[in-house]
């Protein structure tokens, strides 16, 4: 919380997206869920940032907040979301709407559910193109065909006429990606884009995203629970836990030398060939209704001490490596 203003600038270049001190709550019957508590991070132009964490850590909600599509009864309480320096939250609803699709676009976890089952793929991509680029239908259609080809869909003419249910998961996700990029957004948010896909298809889609990012020069926020996916695809990784960012670092640095105890324990929980035993994290994620102040990981942390009762600030412990912990793990 008090960490927000301190949030350092990981990248010296002017960031494309800057989220600062974002606080978001859900008013439920059980009480107020503090879903995001002082989330701050930046994305540089063309950069691929991984947002990782376990279920309920707030990574998807962060993405929704950036899109301006926080689901009811969620409410942003504070902080700012700056795109190219412009505070989106200060914009009138109509202008924020205009940002969507043309400057920020989103890819969803289950492509077949993110496509309207009763509308053709073509109509949806044309719709996206017309809205984002303010062009006429014919031009939008040309652009759509071109984009479909770019995402690796052979025979785009046919794809335009198909419906979501007629496509395989991989093809549907390619179509979804086409819809996201057709507007020329400089920031693409992919929310678990491959979680519903098979391993071999996942590899294709991730490769496609990387190719597109390089070709179009847009930045990518890759939200995933799969540390392997993040490691192989992202420049920089932001680790979230219980509504807070606990650590952020360049991908290799993070896996080589995790500093936050949570990150470290998480990595030790990963099964892989040749490992003797896993080392699970004891305990469970705290309830986000009226959580205890201080480090939210403290109750599960073997390193925790009395000082952890105060919320740790984000501090830079290595080059572009930040951690919010009083007792970070030092590389040995």
């Amino acid at each position: 919380m008090s960490a927000a203003p301190v949030a350092a600038r990981p990248a010296p270049a002017a960031p494309l997206l800057a989220v600062r001190g974002l606080k978001l709550r859900f008013d439920t019957r059980r009480g107020v869920v503090r879903a995001l508590d002082g989330v701050s991070f930046e994305v540089a132009p063309g950069e691929c940032v991984g947002l990782v964490g376990e279920t309920g850590c707030g990574k998807s909600i962060t993405a929704r907040a950036v899109m301006g599509l926080v689901p009811a009864p969620g409410r942003i309480e504070g902080g700012e979301i700056r795109l190219d320096g412009r505070d989106l939250m200060a914009l009138p609803a109509e202008e924020w709407r205009a940002v969507r699709g043309s400057q920020v676009a989103m890819i969803f976890q289950e492509p077949k559910r993110a496509l309207d089952p009763t509308a053709t793929v073509g109509s949806q991509i044309v719709e996206a193109a017309m809205l984002a680029r303010r062009i006429d239908r014919a031009e939008a259609k040309r652009l759509a065909l071109d984009t479909l080809r770019q995402v690796g869909l052979a025979d785009p003419e046919r794809i335009m006429r198909t419906y979501a249910f007629e496509l395989s998961g991989g093809m549907a996700q390619r179509a979804m990606i086409a819809i996201a990029v057709v507007g020329g957004s400089r920031l693409i948010i992919a929310d678990e884009p491959t979680s519903s896909l098979d391993v071999s298809i996942q590899a294709q889609i991730l490769r496609l995203l990387q190719d597109l990012r390089r070709r179009l020069g847009s930045a990518l926020i890759l939200i995933t629970h799969d540390l392997g996916v993040a490691a192989e695809n992202c420049d920089r990784i932001v680790v979230m836990y219980a509504g807070q960012i606990v650590e952020q670092a360049p991908a290799r640095e993070l896996f080589r030398a995790p500093a936050h105890p949570y990150t470290e324990r998480l990595l030790r929980s990963l099964p892989r060939p040749g490992r003797d035993a896993l080392s699970p994290i004891p305990g469970t994620v705290p309830d986000l209704i009226d959580p205890a102040p201080g480090c939210r990981f403290a109750n599960r942390c073997e390193r925790a001490g009395p000082d952890c009762a105060a919320t740790p600030a984000m501090s830079e412990i290595g080059r572009r490596h930040f951690v919010a912990c009083y007792r970070p793990v030092r590389p040995t």
Binding site: R100, A114, D116, T118, Q124, E127, L131
Partner: protein, 337 residues
Amino acid sequence: MRRVLRTLWIRLFNSALVIAVLSVVVFGFMRMIPGDPILALMGTEGITDAKLAEVKKELGLDRPLYVQYLSWAWHVLQGDFGRSIQNNEPVLPMLLERLKVTAELAVAATILGSSLGILIGVVSAVRRNTIFDSASMIGALSGVSMPVFWLGIILIVGFSVKLDIFPTGGLVSHNTRLVAVTGFPLLDSLITGQRAATVDILKHMVLPTVTLAFAPAALVARTTRASVLEVINEDYVNAGLARGLSFAGVVARHVMRNALIPVVTIIGLEIGVYLGGSIVTESVFSYPGLGRYMMQGIMANDYPVVQGAIILYAAIIVVVNLVVDLSYSAIDPRVRS
């Protein structure tokens, strides 16, 4: 397309089976109805047993039941629904004539009830938990909970007697002459271009249509609301918003069509309700339709009339179900393949 055709054939086959079984059941039911059709017809004055036997013989009612059934079924298969016990007129033409009258009312009520219901339902869903929502849903519940005959009489007293906007009932004014082209009164008046007649028929249709449409409209509104609320949380709605569509745009372009699918089912079911509900409505509004004809048939134990009417009803419901299925494929491409 071949699959659609194949499904169609299977559906028709099943429907024929259903109707065949139904015909046996109804035949049996009719014979279970206490009372004797000839006695009911000839009434109370001096009908001797010999006379009864003579009439029964003339009508073939003295034969064993299975013979009566088979003979009737065989004739029905040839398009001959027999003759009314009450007045010896051929059943099928009468049924069709009345069906056409009922059909126009049912179609009008369907259109009114569905469009009103969908409109209210969508607005309620989009404005969830507002005054409009609560008011229209309470209104919808009232519609479902109100006895039809009440509503009918209230409408007549209000709009016909007090305000004198509409007639108390009937199909047309007696000085309007209907010209039968297709047998559908409204359609005929349009085809022949008789504007006065069209207006007259429409005036007569308003109150019964409203009465008939009231409860179904309420049901459609409730279904639409629930359906829209369900759809509105789908990922593709978010996806639409994420590509820059406004909320209204998403509702219009992506929510409506998907939300319509369960609504179409309800509307299809409601057509059955219109047909059934028409018994009371037709009686209150003196409408010479099928429901009343059949009700009279039941009361007089007029076997051929009731059996014929039920076959017709079942056939209509089968057709309506088919149409509903076809409209699924119009709405939902998943069904098409």
